[in-house]
């Protein structure tokens, strides 16, 4: 099944520049419906008000980290199967394993290229 390029995507990062970069790269890939949240708490509030098809989140945020957001998303029946991609500078083995155990669908190390983002989204969403 073809990927719906109009799917609502929530990107979460506390750095405004990173939000702009990810939004820009997603637009370049053809996605058009992109919302932003500035930390895990903000993201949870947005998840309650709208159904998203994909979350792309940073890890290192305050007051709620991307890892905590992932745990909460997986613990909620309405979002437990929502595709979740972590985009982070946290590149220790224990981080990757913890995120995997918590149910992350893919994990991208910053800094990253548009090609890497596209390849990882393909593994999560299918070919587009």
């Amino acid at each position: 099944m073809a990927v719906d390029m109009k799917m609502p995507i929530l990107i979460v990062d506390d750095y405004k520049t990173m939000l702009r970069i990810v939004r820009n790269l997603l637009s370049k890939l053809g996605f058009s419906d992109i919302d932003e949240a500035t930390d895990g708490t903000d993201a949870l509030a947005k998840l309650k008000s709208r159904r998203y098809a994909l979350i792309i989140s940073d890890w290192n945020m305050q007051p709620m980290t991307g890892y905590e957001l992932l745990q909460k998303v997986r613990a909620d029946a309405s979002t437990k199967s929502l595709p979740f991609v972590m985009v982070t500078a946290e590149s220790k083995v224990e981080n990757v394993i913890a995120a995997r155990k918590a149910g992350v669908n893919n994990y991208i190390i910053k800094p990253f290229s548009a090609e890497v983002l596209k390849a990882k989204l393909k593994t999560v969403l299918g070919d587009f």
Partner: protein, 171 residues
Amino acid sequence: MAGKGKLDLVERLTNECIDVCQAVLRGRKYLAPLLDPSFRAHKLQRALNEQKAAVGEMEMAVDRIMTAVEKMSEIDFADSGDAARRVAECCGEIVEACCFQDITGQRMSQVNEALSAIEDTLTFLSDGTAEAAPPEDQTLLNGPALPGSGMEQDAVDEILADDKGKQEALG
């Protein structure tokens, strides 16, 4: 009277010496958090390494941005189709290079943490009003890896693939 005067002077000097000694001992106690080998070996050394890495990454980002801008300035716009493609490529390069702001921001927060610990100690030394706060436990939060010490994307992919493989086998 002269003998009494000398005795008073000796007593006053002795008391001042005691005060100075006590101040030195107090100072050493207050400096203990900074003299702790773990602070110097981990926090301070890490701060220095993070600062060095941040400067290197900023240089690389600026170089990447400048290269993209130079490429754009050399584009021949006679062929508008090719020019548009090359401009889009250069813009993509610039956008990707801007990732440095997030990474260096996280690195500088490690430097700030070390400086704050030093500032707290100096404040305590100067007026005794502030207690040096113990570092927060940041479970699983490491921040960006220093060059050569973190995982590359391929290694992350291997872990995820291996884990997925195991899960499929179990499933």
